[in-house]
Amino acid sequence: MSEAFGFCVLIAYDCLTMGDEDDLQDNLNGTAKFFTRFLLGVPGQFEKEVENISRRQNGGVMSENKSTTPRRPSLVADAQIDRLVRRFAARVLFIRSDFHAGIGPRDPLPLIEAEARTFSAALALTPHGRAYWMVLLPEETKLTGDPGAALGLWIAGQTVQMAEAIEGGEPEPPIKRRTDAMLADVVARLTGEKY
């Protein structure tokens, strides 16, 4: 039982090492919520976070057994990855709507590419993560020279296509569900849940 509290301490330490102050507050609130639910016997995110922490400890400097090292695609915490991906997709839509409103540069593509490069820097892909996305997105990687930015461009392309479909008269709820499924898939591949 005290181990559960110990894991909560480790997750809080983990939160302290990343992000700005707003993100830190969000992460700590999220951790408190997950642990509260856990203590009330509701299955949820806390177990996953514990799994991640123990996986990292087994594969990290605390372990001498290198054969169990997990291949994690990103150095960033799972909750943070989810937030980064969704914020990036939202940012692309904002840039697009600004363009249609006549705000900002005449060609929004360089702006989206710059955003994709910032997104890549924030994602902090590991060598495994870089290789993984390089294989999945070879054309985009050739174009940008950076698998993280390539992923950003791919997400931007998908998001814009889905927005165009809605504007073209397709019903909104299924497109929104598809967008959400696409983003959830990307997040799962960035957290290592899916490979």
Binding site: E3, F5, L16
Partner: protein, 122 residues
């Protein structure tokens, strides 16, 4: 619908328990949430004090361990200041922890780190 009704009945039960007992009830998500937030705030505050150089890291870790022991005592129903949820705050929560958390993997990795001893002995 079923989940909603279960959640509502839990809330009603927590409200009823609050009205019967003056002690904070451990089945009340607000009470548990407040305790957990306080616990995490303590950890963060100690880390900040260590960062400022006003406390040794070892002392902060010892305090964190103390806070873990306090939390364990509260949620195992050993703290008379809290109204426990009966069997849940005891065997129920311990079983849940063993079921939900990856103790087997941790024990395996501990055994691999120290193969001459069992995980419990190390």
């Amino acid at each position: 619908m079923t989940c909603l009704s279960i959640e509502n009945s839990q809330k009603e039960f927590a409200a009823a328990a609050r009205s019967v007992s003056r002690k904070p009830y451990l089945g009340d998500s607000e009470v548990v949430g407040a305790y957990v937030r306080g616990f995490i705030a303590g950890v963060v505050q100690r880390a900040a004090v260590v960062g400022e150089g006003a406390m040794k890291r070892g002392d902060a870790v010892a305090d964190d361990r103390g806070a873990c022991a306090d939390g364990t005592a509260v949620f195992l129903g050993e703290d008379p200041a809290y109204e426990s949820m009966g069997q849940w705050n005891g065997a129920g929560l311990i079983n849940w922890c063993f079921q939900a958390l990856p103790f087997e993997k941790l024990a395996d990795s501990a055994a691999q780190r120290c193969p001459r001893h069992s995980a419990s002995a190390c």
